[in-house]
């Protein structure tokens, strides 16, 4: 009896802990994304011998709707990407045509950067598609953080087989993430810096994605403008609208 009640207590406490972990991730996710998000950002691809910069504007609504418009460099200006649920389209203004992209492109690097399509437009939900466990505490940039292990649910179609995130305990800001492949090898590390008041909330405004096996290589993403929770009609996320963004 004692053993069973002990086990029951342990199970209850474990499930509470798991629920807490999910809640922490949910709060951090909600903080970064809001119900809708519009941002203008600079993406800098950094390699040992060269650096390239790209400016784009991004619109996100929930996990299923997003749009990206490239503003520079000039040769790519006007190219846009639309994601609606599992479908992705690419508008090429110079060809005046829409190209539907194969789903296999979602897990690949986007426009030569170290971010995947999925990192930018989040096909997967960090809340719904993973099982979360708090594994410990750490201090990053003088902030006490939870360390949370995220393992994808069996049915979830996600790129990574494990993600470890560090989330600030006070403000629920994600400060560090590590992405692992199916062989449990570390593929990418993301660090988040420069916490500032953007729109109505304090968020990191510089994100650095560092591939683990490529020395001197990383991609930086800097938010220049962000606005949250401004209504965007579902109609905006249409193939016709992606042609009219410029």
């Amino acid at each position: 009896m004692k053993v069973s009640s002990l086990l029951l207590t342990l199970l209850i406490s474990l499930s509470c802990y798991a629920q807490d972990a999910t809640e922490i991730v949910r709060k951090a996710d909600e903080k970064m994304r809001g119900t809708t998000m519009q941002a203008e950002l600079t993406i800098r691809t950094i390699r040992p011998a060269w650096t390239r910069e790209m400016n784009c504007r991004i619109w996100i609504k929930g996990n299923s709707l997003s749009m990206i418009l490239i503003l520079s460099p000039v040769k790519d200006k006007g190219i846009s990407f639309l994601k609606r649920k599992k479908e992705v389209w690419n508008w090429m203004p110079s060809l005046e045509r829409t190209i539907k992209l194969p789903p296999s492109m979602m897990s690949q690097n986007w426009m030569g950067t170290d971010f995947t399509n999925d990192d930018l437009v989040r096909e997967s939900s960090v809340v719904e598609d993973y099982i979360h466990t708090v594994t410990g505490d750490t201090i990053i940039q003088n902030r006490v953080c939870y360390i949370i292990k995220m393992i994808p649910k069996p049915e979830a179609a996600v790129v990574w087989s494990k993600v470890v995130v560090c989330i600030d305990k006070k403000d629920f800001i994600e400060l560090h993430s590590r992405f692992y492949d199916e062989n449990d090898e570390l593929i990418n590390t993301m660090n988040c810096y420069d916490i500032k008041l953007m729109d109505d909330r304090m968020i990191p405004t510089r994100f650095e994605m560092v591939p683990s096996d490529k020395k001197g290589q990383k991609t930086e993403m800097v938010y220049k403008m962000v606005s949250y929770n401004k209504p965007i009609k579902d109609d905006f996320f249409s193939v016709e609208y992606m042609k009219k963004l410029l």
């Binding site: 910069e53 249409s238 016709e240 410029l246």
Partner: protein, 383 residues
């Protein structure tokens, strides 16, 4: 002189007003490129090398006086020189896009081996709101879905070998589209080609259902009644697309059917592979006597001179600045093979260099042999 000076100052003002950010009502956007391309052509066994050069400039102007209205003008300026110009009879006369009704081109200089040519590629007025879009003037009406061959692209067919003309030709006409919602839209278009009985009028219904884009086309293509459909979706993680277009011309038995199917996939090691097949019911399906029979001036009636065609292309991004592509086209009936490798390198943010190669092989007189090779080196500066 004063007039030219005024135009120059006006253009400068427009350029200065051009903005790199999203356009606002009243703004004019100016962009384009200048390309320099050197071409070497060889006959069989790399004999009789012929060289030519091309400077190619495009100026795109877009003006939004108010948010619903857009006015677009695009100019294509080209300077040709070299042996190929000298050896091709009537070279300047071949530069006009064949399906344009109005003659908005001008050969400023047309010497035996030097040509300066300008064409107004786009000139249209567009009104658009949330649901309705109306465009009148010279424009590209692009109904293609697939990458290599586009049977549904009945307004202005594109030759996939003409890689240096990415914008593709325009049509003189009008187009109206109405979007009911994110699932259903309709479009009707008309193009006047300036040829007797050569006009094109068609309607397209577009749907998105079961994660597939689908389109159904019906109309008149020149003297043909035409019906078509196309789709773009996926099977597991691979893209799956296709287009079918049927052209029927009364009881004399002339009809054309072009069908294409295509699959594409991005592998984890960043190899992108695209496999396509095309069936053209009136194409040649037996070995031909000589290369000149394989006319690659394609049209919606015949997207290839050959009946069965397959194309495999693979692209590998070696670094984000450097990528390599290889394409192989093979038509089994005629034993026509085209080998199309290319290299792309970004030298600076807006400066790219490309190397394209096209080799043609064909079975003639029971012998499979090379017939023609072309090499293109291109530098492009975008502004």
């Amino acid at each position: 002189m004063k007039k030219w000076l005024l135009i120059f100052v006006h253009l400068l003002c427009i350029a200065a007003y051009a903005d790199d950010s999203i356009s606002f009502p009243g703004h004019v956007m100016v962009h384009g490129y200048i390309k320099d391309m050197q071409v070497l052509s060889f006959n069989k066994d790399f004999k009789n090398a012929i060289s030519s050069g091309l400077i190619h400039n495009r100026i795109n102007l877009k003006w939004k006086p108010v948010s619903n209205i857009t006015i677009v003008t695009e100019l294509r300026n080209r300077v040709f020189w070299g042996e190929e110009v000298r050896l091709t009879p009537g070279f300047a006369s071949l530069l006009r896009n064949t399906n344009e009704k109005f003659d908005l081109q001008k050969a400023w200089i047309s010497d035996s081996s030097f040509i300066v040519h300008t064409n107004v590629e786009r000139l249209y007025f567009n009104y658009g709101n949330d649901k309705l879009d109306i465009r009148i003037g010279r424009q590209r009406i692009n109904w293609g879905i697939t990458t290599t061959w586009n049977p549904n692209d009945i307004f202005n067919t594109y030759n996939f070998l003409d890689f240096d003309y990415e914008e593709r030709p325009g049509s003189d006409g009008g187009r109206i589209s109405y979007r009911f919602n994110n699932i259903v839209s309709i479009e009707a278009a008309y193009a006047n080609t300036g040829i007797k009985n050569g006009n094109i009028a068609a309607a397209k219904l577009s749907l998105n259902k079961w994660n597939y884009d689908m389109q159904f086309i019906s109309g008149l293509y020149r003297e043909y009644v035409t019906l078509g459909c196309g789709w773009a979706g996926s099977i597991k993680d691979a893209g799956f697309k296709g287009e079918i277009q049927y052209l029927y011309k009364n009881a004399d038995g002339t009809d054309h059917l072009n069908m294409t199917m295509e699959g594409d996939y991005m592998f984890k090691n960043e190899w992108y592979v695209n496999v396509a097949a095309l069936f053209n019911n009136s194409g040649i399906n037996t070995p031909i006597a000589n290369w000149n029979v394989a006319d690659l001036r394609i049209s919606p009636e015949e997207l290839m001179p050959t009946k069965w065609n397959t194309m495999i292309s693979a692209t590998k991004q070696i670094t984000p600045l450097f990528s390599a592509t290889t394409g192989i086209l093979y038509a089994p009936g005629t034993n026509l093979l085209i080998f199309l490798p290319s290299l792309q390198y970004s030298m600076m943010e807006n400066l790219d260099i490309n190397l394209f190669w096209q080799s043609f092989f064909l079975e003639t007189s029971n012998q499979f042999e090379n017939v023609n090779h072309r090499c293109f080196l291109r530098i492009r500066w975008s502004y």
